[in-house]
């Protein structure tokens, strides 16, 4: 068969419209993951032995099992526990929890790079624990982990494509619907690939701009 560029062009408006779904869900997920991941990090820093033991198992589970299976657990298994979630909500929660664990692990890796003298100085100044976190540690931590957090954001964007499997009408599912009515799956999928590529390039670009701005402010 011959690649029909005309078909590729004709599907782009529909796929671009569907891209807003992925973009919206990805933004919600990234916001939840950042907040939850930060909270998890602070909770782990308290070093309450039983709590950290539970969190360690949870982290191992989320890192050791496929995101797709986690999405299935939220979508298929939670209704059994009396929590009947829509596909979109179940999917967003599954990816958010997954990403929150990775955000916390990213932070864990970067925490030791913060000068311990700052903590001593802040404590000597009489700053409360939560103030030390909010004003001393977190601002530096976000700045230092920004490149990795941007990378994690692109992983989240790619993860939203899996929601098509649980019936969320995103770019991929829209592509599949178009493909099944036009019988031109290849061109349509190339269109979907382009949409994701453009979103992720944009995310990386925003990340680099943010980094440059933060670097300039430090001068």
């Amino acid at each position: 068969m011959v690649f029909q560029t005309a078909h590729l062009i004709s599907v782009m408006p529909n796929l671009s419209a569907a891209a807003l779904v992925n973009l919206r869900l990805a933004l919600i997920i990234i916001a939840i993951a950042l907040i939850l991941g930060t909270a998890l990090t602070i909770l782990r820093s308290l070093k309450i032995a039983p709590v950290n033991a539970v969190i360690d198992v949870l982290i191992s589970f989320i890192r050791g099992t496929p995101l797709l299976v986690q999405i299935f657990i939220f979508y298929y298994a939670l209704p059994n526990a009396g929590l009947d979630l829509s596909a979109e909500v179940a999917g967003v929660l599954a990816i958010s929890f997954n990403s929150a664990v990775f955000v916390s692990e990213i932070m864990r890796g970067s925490l030791p790079t913060i000068d311990p003298g700052q903590i001593e100085a802040a404590t000597a100044l009489g700053l409360r624990r939560h103030v030390i976190w909010l004003r001393v540690i977190l601002p530096q931590l976000f700045r230092r982990t920004l490149p990795v957090l941007i990378n994690e954001s692109t992983i989240v964007v790619k993860g939203t494509a899996l929601l098509s499997v649980i019936t969320v009408v995103d770019v991929l599912r829209t592509a599949q619907q178009i493909a099944s009515s036009t019988f031109r799956p290849f061109e349509t999928l190339v269109g979907a690939a382009i949409v994701f590529l453009v979103i992720n390039l944009a995310v990386s670009f925003v990340g680099m701009t943010l980094e440059a701005r933060l670097a300039a402010r430090r001068m």
Partner: protein
């Protein structure tokens, strides 16, 4: 809601078959992906602009789009090009291509990290080219490869679950089949997730052993006071 053990006792052969196929597909994709990644990393060292550009585009595209789309592109693209293969093969090819993009970066980083002149120095003290490669260059390239390659292998094992969406009868697919028969999603996905978890932990353990055998760098123990540790360390027992 209790845990219905019969789901596992009745359907364990399906789960086992699925797990074995997952392992086989991942092994094949690891070998092909690593080989292809190494070739790409070496080609990227050739000072030829168009070649570098093409490899750069290949890596950016494969890393920038979701694996499920790579999978569908291969699965529907090959028949489009006149090649008809069973889903297991298209799935393995897609997973190999996906992995190659990341392995290329890992291998490239290991090669670039090798200080220049190591090979020449080894030759200068009288080693044969073979000895220089065997005792000086190879250990320095192979050792730093282990941790990131392990990470990538774990990612690959997890991504292989997506092959279920093109009807490859791997672990996740078998889980969906059993779920269709039993309507016991909790039990089914607990088993499926548990098996992936075991495979991941086993691979991670094996990699740790390999690393120790390769004499990997020991991480430096950081000494710090307990006040700072109460913020900056998440380990349960703070470093003394």
């Amino acid at each position: 809601m209790g845990f219905d053990v019969s789901v596992f006792t009745t359907y364990w052969p399906l789960f086992l078959q699925g797990a074995l196929l997952t392992i086989r597909v991942c092994l094949a994709a690891f070998v092909v992906g690593f080989a292809l990644g190494t070739v790409l990393a070496l080609l990227a060292l050739v000072p030829l602009r168009p070649l570098r550009f093409l490899i750069g585009v290949y890596l950016a595209v494969l890393r920038g789009i979701p694996f499920i789309i790579i999978l569908f592109l291969v699965h529907y693209g090959l028949p489009f090009a006149g090649v008809r293969l069973p889903a297991v093969f298209t799935g393995t090819i897609a997973l190999s291509l996906f992995a190659s993009a990341y392995f290329a970066e890992i291998v490239r980083a290991a090669i670039v990290a090798l200080p220049k002149g190591q090979f020449e120095s080894a030759r200068a003290i009288g080693m044969s080219p073979g000895q220089a490669m065997r005792y000086v260059v190879a250990p320095q390239i192979l050792r730093p490869l282990v941790p990131p390659s392990t990470n990538m292998t774990l990612t690959m094992i997890k991504e292989s679950s997506v092959l279920s969406s093109i009807t490859v009868a791997e672990l996740t697919y078998q889980g969906l089949v059993v779920q269709g028969n039993t309507f016991a999603p909790f039990e089914v996905f607990a088993v499926v997730a548990g098996v992936y978890w075991i495979i991941s932990i086993a691979v991670a353990r094996a990699a740790t052993l390999l690393e120790r055998k390769a004499g990997g760098a020991q991480s430096k123990a950081v000494t710090r006071n307990s006040l700072a540790d109460s913020f900056l360390s998440l380990e349960r027992r703070p470093a003394s």
